[in-house]
Amino acid sequence: MKNKQTLFNKLTNPKYIMVYATIGIFLIIYAFGAFVYGDKGFTTVRTFVNLFIDNAYFGISAVGMTMVLITGGIDLSVGAVASLTGMFIAYGTSVLGLHPLTCIFAALVMGVSLGLLMGWVIHYLNVPAFITTLTGMFFARGVCSLISRESIDIHHPFFDALASWKIYLMRYADGHWVRIKPIAFINFNVLLFLVMIAIGTFILQKTRFGRNIYAIGGNEQSASLMGLPVGRTKVLVYGFNGLCSVLAGISYALYVKSGWNLSLQGGELEVITCAVIGGTLLTGGVGYMIGTLFGVLLKSIIPALITFNGNLLSWWGKIATGLLLLLFICIQRFVVTTSGKRK
């Protein structure tokens, strides 16, 4: 028990075990892919960037979900809220002729209010988060179906511009910048995902609000006895998650350019999966944004591997994801039981 805070000491701090596990397993799978499908282009920047592009909307939602899970809660409404956001934009622009930004604004008001309301019910009426957010899910899905039961395409110059906006990755050669080959780019979704991860990290690590989230997840009663604003924090966390769901919905709409009342069914579970394989404890108190980032990558690298294989049915991806989740839950159990007993 030395009081030296060396770099080694910092890095071996047991609280990082889960994050290391996530990053480690991602690297192993990536190395496997590189070894087997390296000749087919698995190691290219483009493949790597596509992991982000194809899953940015899950990642954006996972930022808010990570916070909810750290408080020891859960939010099952995120998929439905994202779907409703897409419907707002689609119906608003294509049927009502509104500007997409107006629709987005309406979706934000709806998503954040629903989140705050659910947080309020969970804390002040003491209703389990599972039930409360299940209700929220049915509500959002129902409203979505009320608006339209058919898929609506989104056509609007502003929206199209935003969807096709991209930054090409460049390299410096022969005195000027050229696009790398094969061509790889970052779009608005990826940018939004990375920005949200950065914001999430800042909130969790650098603000009192963020630390209160961890304290509540560690022991809610203690947090309250320590004089922390438990109620306010929980309500705001669900509100923030509502915001993330709406942003994820925008991102998904940009990705598919349509709104449909049955889109993203079960999406909430995919989002929870991302957070959990990213090292967030379902029992609360532990989790990092960087873990969630790698959780999203880890979840999206499996379908990528299956695509590269070409012979496997895509359902193998579900099975692999399930196994991965199981593995992480086992690791979590192990970490929780061993660290609890250490003296």
Partner: protein
């Protein structure tokens, strides 16, 4: 020192459903004093503290801090007023680092961000004041309970409170750590802080306090200077009865020819090996020894909670196989575990449900008891054991520690056991309730139940036991007669092994 009151609580009354927890209690705290708050469990100490810290809300009464009236609505407001509390059970977040537990909610900020460097630096300094040279960036759960307790004290101290409340802070500390804590308390007192100190250890009260206030059943008994009362007078005031009556317990009478009820021969489960114990009908044997000496492990083997690998167990002359607790319950062996919150009481169930559990389990769940039978059973034992509750439907988790223990006893008494194993049944409960539990144990012996009584407190073991099994380093080292041995004898055997 000028005798200025920093805190005055006047006519505090607080009603819980069915029970008046506080009835017109007055309390005052001077600047720079250590004031002990005493009383049995359920006397109202914790409730008084909870009113002061905003956890509970009193029905009537006034609180003045520095002459100004305050009414904290939640713990946060109390802390802002300068009232800081270390609660009985460690109330920190195990997932946060030691440093963060000290500063969470009031982290130093720099450029709009939490200044982690400053937090860790100041936490290190604080902990080294307690002579703890530890890595404060590790999670709290990484450290022992004693260090966790010190962390919560460090948090309370750093808040720079006017009033520090220590609710049983010493129960998990060893002698050196207690002294360390006392030094810190004296330092803080010299700095003008008023300290309210709650403990069950009488010696500690006399070691550090200036004054003491005694509560009983929600009433104020009085406030005294420390040299005004002897320990004996103090306990009498706390209990409200004459101590002699309480401690005038008689050991169980065991006829020399009464048959052997339980016989364990050379049993072992890998953790512990080769233990032999015999227990006669109606006999009480005590298991003495330090924590970790193998007392609990032996009890678990006799109850089937840990399967024996070697040896044999006989009940009433017949060999029995105990693979799981259910087997033991079937042959009427009962076990009250050490940690009643974790292993014994089911807090969310009512007293009635808690009491009927073992009976129902033995009868089998296919033959449910009627509601009326359950209620009758529960009421019978509530009356018999004197469980303080308005009715049998109150949640067991809302009872005081002593009453919870009685509910567990009732559960097993109702199951009419042949052998009853009690692991530390009196820990953490007050003197009055302790005596009550001991009396009940002995009464059960009188009815022919054989009892195994595990306790860390030698005086109660000696007072109750016919024979005492002494354990040391996971082995039985001696067996002595309860009526003829002294504490010194036992301590010597625990310390040095069998003579």
């Amino acid at each position: 020192m000028p005798e200025k009151n920093i805190l005055e609580m006047k006519d505090i009354t607080m009603q819980f459903p069915g029970v008046k927890a506080l009835d017109g209690v007055n309390f005052s705290l001077r600047e720079g004093e250590i004031h002990s708050l005493l009383g049995e469990n359920g006397a109202g100490k914790s409730t008084l503290i909870k009113c002061l810290t905003g956890v509970n809300h009193m029905d009537s009464g006034k609180i003045f801090l520095d002459g100004k009236e305050i009414a904290p609505a939640n713990p946060g407001e109390a802390i802002e007023c300068g009232i800081s509390t270390v609660f009985q059970e460690v109330n920190l977040c195990p997932n946060l680092s030691v440093a963060e537990n000290i500063f969470v909610g009031r982290q130093p900020m720099k450029h709009g961000q939490i200044d982690w460097r400053e937090i860790n630096k100041r936490a290190s300094e604080l902990m080294s004041r307690f002579h703890l040279d530890i890595d404060v960036t590790r999670p709290l759960s990484y450290y022992s309970t004693a260090i966790q307790q010190m962390t919560s004290i460090a948090r309370a101290v750093d808040i720079k409170a006017k009033i520090l409340i220590l609710d049983e802070p010493t129960s998990s500390l060893d002698e050196n750590e207690v002294q360390l804590l006392f030094n810190v308390m004296r330092e803080l007192k010299a700095g003008g802080m008023g300290i309210i100190f709650i403990t069950h250890f009488l010696d500690q009260i006399y070691a550090v306090s200036d004054r003491m206030t005694i509560l009983r059943n929600g009433h104020l008994i009085g406030t005294y200077n420390i040299d005004e009362l002897t320990k004996f007078e103090l306990v009498t005031k706390m209990v409200g009865k004459d101590m002699d009556v309480i401690f005038n317990l008689k050991r169980a009478d065991v006829a020399p020819d009464s048959n052997i009820m339980l016989n364990a021969e050379h049993i072992g489960d890998g953790r512990i090996n080769d233990i032999s114990v015999t227990l006669k009908k109606g006999e009480l044997i005590g298991f003495a020894g330090l924590l970790g000496s193998g007392r609990t492990e032996t009890a678990e083997m006799l109850f089937g909670a840990s399967k024996i690998a070697t040896g044999e167990i006989f009940l009433d002359g017949e060999k029995i196989n105990l693979n799981r607790p259910f087997d033991a319950i079937k042959v009427r062996i009962a076990f009250c575990p050490e940690d009643r919150k974790r292993d014994g009481i089911i807090g969310d169930l009512s007293i009635r449900e808690n009491i009927m559990l073992a009976v129902q389990s033995r009868k089998g769940f296919m033959k449910p008891m009627t509601r009326q039978e359950q209620t009758d059973l529960a009421n019978k034992y509530i009356k018999l054991l004197g469980i303080a509750t308005p009715d049998c439907e109150k949640k067991a988790g809302e009872l005081s520690g002593g009453n919870q223990q009685k509910v567990i006893l009732a559960r097993w008494m109702a199951a009419q056991p042949k052998v009853l194993i009690l692991d530390e049944p009196t820990r953490g409960i007050d003197i009055g309730a302790k005596a009550e539990i001991q009396r009940l144990m002995l009464e059960m012996c009188g009815e022919g139940v054989s009892v195994i009584f595990i306790s860390s407190e030698l005086d109660e073991i000696i007072r109750c036991s016919n024979r005492i099994v002494i354990m040391r380093d996971r082995a039985k080292v001696a067996e002595v007669d309860g009526s003829s041995c002294t504490q010194q004898d036992i301590l010597k055997i625990i310390a040095e092994g069998a003579a």
